[in-house]
């Protein structure tokens, strides 16, 4: 592993930290397994890239891309809340539809941005993009922390924790799911827009691993810190995403294990499965000292 690879992995981790925060919001905060994001990541990239090549200001393009992602989240939420379509299926349906929509938006399977202005154009120096993305992630992380600890954000987290009791405290569960999905998919689309501008292209197939990557990063972060404090949760999501990237890069670089790039999906799936099995195994075979009173 050399410095360029290392910084590349950190940069990738920072972009996907936004995805990780989005996944945390759906899987943990509102307890909704949302697959829409596999479509809203390329949606963000597609919208931003298409607007930028049409000479729209890159900042405006990024903002519109984010809003487009939020809209995709609302569609999934609407299907689930209003028409009672199973959450998992609602997400898959929106994601499937987005594939066609993304192709329509781009008009072709990929768009190159290498010669176009981007939100990073004004940054100079070899690591300009890295610092730019780092700053964006810090600002978004802080805003999300403030959101999750607000009265509204607390009600949103409460929804995922206990859906049944929430109405009796005046919480509109359906509305919370809608907002949670909107914010989450907005974040993921923002990540897609930044990815396209940082790497100089948007591609129709770039969303295929969004969900599992985000989920794996959430799990890595959770294994670092066991805390319900929202500041720590946000930090652990960001660090989890970076560490996940570094771990993957290390695994693929090490000659001993004999892994190759195509093993990435397998490694990620096994990691998530392990993380889900371990708590159950612990419960089934409790250590004597851990016995409850």
């Amino acid at each position: 592993m050399n410095m360029i690879q290392f910084l590349g992995a950190v940069q990738m981790g920072l972009i996907y930290a936004l995805v990780t925060l989005g996944v945390y919001l759906t899987f943990r905060s509102i307890n909704f397994p949302d697959l829409t994001i596999d479509g809203s990541f390329p949606l963000g990239a597609a919208v931003a890239a298409s607007l930028i090549v049409s000479d729209v200001n890159p900042f405006t393009a990024t903002l519109i891309a984010t809003l487009a992602g939020a809209l995709a989240g609302f569609v999934t939420g609407y299907l689930h809340v209003r028409w009672k379509i199973l959450g998992l299926l609602a997400g898959i349906l929106t994601m499937t539809a987005l594939y066609s929509i993304n192709l329509r938006i781009m008009g072709r399977p990929n768009i190159a941005l290498l010669t176009e202005p981007t939100v990073f154009s004004f940054l100079t120096g070899s690591n300009g993009i890295l610092y730019g993305i780092g700053a964006i992630v810090l600002v978004i992380g802080y805003l999300l922390y403030r959101f999750l600890t607000s009265q509204f954000g607390l009600a949103l987290r409460a929804t995922g924790n206990n859906m049944r009791v929430s109405p009796s405290y005046g919480i509109n569960v359906g509305f919370m799911i809608l907002i949670g999905l909107g914010v989450s998919n907005g974040l993921v689309a923002l990540a897609g827009a930044l990815f396209a501008q940082a790497h100089g292209f948007a591609d129709i197939s770039m969303g295929s691993l969004t969900l599992v990557t985000g989920l794996a990063s959430v799990i890595v972060g959770e294994s670092l810190f066991h805390s319900n404090h929202m500041a720590i949760v946000v930090i652990s999501c960001i660090l989890g995403s970076i560490l996940y990237r570094l771990a993957i890069m290390l695994a693929l670089n090490s000659q001993i294990a004999g892994l190759q790039a195509s093993d990435l999906n397998l490694i990620t799936s096994v990691l998530i499965i392990m993380a889900m099995l371990i708590p159950q195994i612990r419960q089934k075979f409790p250590l004597k000292s851990r016995r409850s009173l």
Partner: protein, 248 residues
């Protein structure tokens, strides 16, 4: 005052399992009354709670709270006027959130939820004060997870949560059924204390005949969706728990 008029509820309408719970059911609860409800299985006690809270919408009939018709309000809208403590301590609060976050959620009941911080020093001191008042020593554990408390402690906090904001009626749905006898007495006396102090109107379902008469100032005996006995005043005072059995 809360008034239920000609309430009809039928489950599984139009199927072989059709089950009519209420057929033109009427009930009036005056402000300041603490009503206990007793009745066998299938008497309609829980359905009555769910109809009032809005968890279940009646097929016909009207519900008015202080002359406000809330018949078509959903549960989260009625929460402005109605507070509730559930039977199962595990399901009635938020296990993965801290005690102060639970209290904050209850403190926002009936108010618009803003983007201001949910827990501040000001609200924290209100929460601490309210916990101190019930005297089970939880005021120093505000940041502990709700799930780390015992069933009895959780019901005590749930009671504080339900009474933190004013409400037209407090619904208690066998809220001591899952507790051991000692904790049950503690929670019941706490219930009585809070209702008296805050001058609340309350409706409590119970499975114990003695409790039905010991607590509150009015007792309803329900059977097959009807109120077969409405006990109040001296008639109620002279009744023993064993006499109640005859009404079933």
């Amino acid at each position: 005052m809360i008034e239920l008029k000609d309430i009809c509820v039928t489950f599984a309408k139009g199927t072989p399992l059709q089950n009519t719970i209420f057929d033109h059911f009427n009930l009036q609860i005056n402000t300041g009354e603490f009503v206990t409800v007793i009745g066998g299985n299938g008497a309609g006690k829980s359905t009555l709670m769910n109809i009032i809270s809005g968890e279940l919408l009646a097929d016909a009939g009207s519900i008015t709270l202080d002359n406000m018709n809330v018949s078509h309000w959903l549960a989260h809208q009625r929460a402005k006027l109605i507070s509730r403590v559930f039977q199962d301590p595990l399901l009635g609060s938020y296990a993965d959130l801290s005690i102060e976050e639970n209290l904050s959620l209850a403190y926002s009941r009936g108010k618009p939820r803003t983007l201001c911080p949910a827990v501040t020093e000001a609200t924290r001191s209100i929460f601490r004060e309210n916990l101190q008042h019930i005297g089970i020593g939880l005021e120093d554990r505000l940041t502990d997870k709700m799930g780390s408390l015992s069933g009895g402690q959780r019901q005590a906090v749930s009671l504080v949560m339900a009474t933190l904001r004013p409400s037209k009626i407090l619904l208690l749905d066998e809220h001591t059924a899952a507790l051991d006898p000692k904790m049950e007495r503690l929670i019941l006396s706490l219930t009585q204390k809070l209702i008296t102090e805050k001058k609340l109107t309350a409706l409590m379902i119970t499975h114990s005949m003695s409790q039905a008469l010991e607590y509150g100032n009015r007792t309803l005996v329900m059977h097959h969706g009807n109120i077969v006995k409405d006990l109040i005043g001296s008639e109620r005072d002279h009744l023993k728990a064993t006499d109640l059995v005859e009404f079933f």
